[in-house]
């Protein structure tokens, strides 16, 4: 890690901001450094996109959107948080961006429709699994309704708080909590079959 604060800075102004040298190189336009950042983070970004979309083709498109946006905005990263935190927040915002067209937009609509349909809280709406075929957790998550899946992934996997999720998805905190419980109940139901 490279300290960007001058060693002789006054203590009151010496913010201990450090930025990884690879990130600094990418900020200067180094293609190889950016490719290294891609290699370092793509696994987690792809997992996020795949779990939120439950569609591998759409997930690949979303990953591309995420890294293009990272490339466009990497200059604004100042090291206030870990680069991975900054990148994953950007990834979540990109995936949930309602302005996208085509299938990307349909994902946003599916999540919003799931939240809007209050009856779903009482009616498990998972996609049917083949009778007698056990599901692992990954497959069970993919079968959750879009809204419940989004809350589950953001809370349980990505570690965001209900307040953060509520802000990202434009819902109340209570709705986020309710959908988390709903997701867990549905998952237990699928996994116990």
């Amino acid at each position: 890690m490279l300290a960007t604060t001058a060693p002789d800075s006054p203590p009151s102004r010496a913010l201990e901001v450090s930025i990884d040298p690879t990130v600094l190189a990418a900020q200067r336009g180094d293609d190889l450094a950016f490719a290294a950042l891609y290699d370092q983070h793509v696994g987690r970004v792809f997992a996020l996109c795949l779990r939120l979309s439950a569609d591998s083709v759409l997930a690949a498109e979303l990953v591309q959107d995420v890294f293009v946006r990272v490339w466009e905005r990497i200059g604004s990263y100042r090291g206030e948080s870990a680069f991975s935190t900054w990148l994953h927040r950007l990834a979540v915002n990109t995936v949930l961006d309602g302005a996208r067209q085509g299938r990307r937009r349909r994902l946003r609509v599916a999540i919003a429709a799931d939240f809007a349909d209050v009856t779903l809280l009482d009616e498990p709406a998972t996609r049917d699994a083949e009778p007698g075929v056990g599901l692992d957790l990954e497959n069970a998550v993919a079968r959750l309704p879009a809204g419940a899946r989004a809350v589950f992934v953001l809370y349980d996997v990505e570690g965001f708080s209900h307040a953060e999720i509520a802000a990202m998805l434009g819902i109340a905190e209570g709705t986020s909590k309710a959908h988390l419980f709903r997701a867990r109940r549905l998952l237990r139901g699928m996994l116990d079959r």
Partner: protein, 169 residues
């Protein structure tokens, strides 16, 4: 449902043996309860999810190609940069040429004046190009291809200023 009900039914809820209606009532209570919420929240699900999943192998190339495409400067800006670059070289050649040929002082003076006129025209082109890039940057402040274009233009301006200073001395 109350917090006491949560205590009483928690194990059944976790085991999935609580009736559907009671489970929903317990979850509805927990969703709004600071004590019971985290308790149900932390109840583990069978299995774990990996933090990373390997993407398709072709995706890396596609992503980096998409970024390379966006890196190209806008066509108009690229033309201006190219024109300025060529003209800067021409100006340099014009400034050097009289001295290389050992021409008369009068010829040298005329050539330098001509080169100065050309340099002035180049400064105007650079002004226009910088203004165009500045406008584009206001719309997309973090567009790195535009930032690079601006750096190129400033470098060319500095180069031209150096040539003019040398010619004047």
């Amino acid at each position: 449902m109350t917090c006491a009900d949560t205590d009483r039914h928690f194990d059944e809820w976790l085991a999935g043996t609580l009736s559907e209606s009671d489970a929903r009532a317990l979850e509805a209570h927990a969703a709004g309860c600071d004590a019971c919420g985290p308790r149900l929240d932390q109840a583990s699900l069978p299995g774990t999810l990996p933090t990373e999943i390997a993407p398709p192998a072709t995706l890396r190339h596609e992503v980096l190609a998409a970024i390379a495409q966006r890196r190209r400067p806008h066509r108009r800006t690229r033309w201006l940069i190219s024109a300025s670059g060529i003209a800067a070289v021409l100006a340099f050649a014009l400034l050097q040429q009289p001295r290389q040929k050992h021409a008369s002082d009068r010829d040298n003076g005329a050539a330098i004046l001509y080169a100065m006129d050309r340099a002035r025209a180049e400064f105007e082109k650079l002004d226009a190009a910088e203004a165009e890039v500045a406008v584009a940057l206001r719309a997309t402040p973090e567009d790195r291809s535009l930032l690079r274009s601006l750096e190129d233009l400033r470098r060319q301006r500095a180069q031209l200023q150096k040539l003019v200073r040398e010619a004047a001395s």
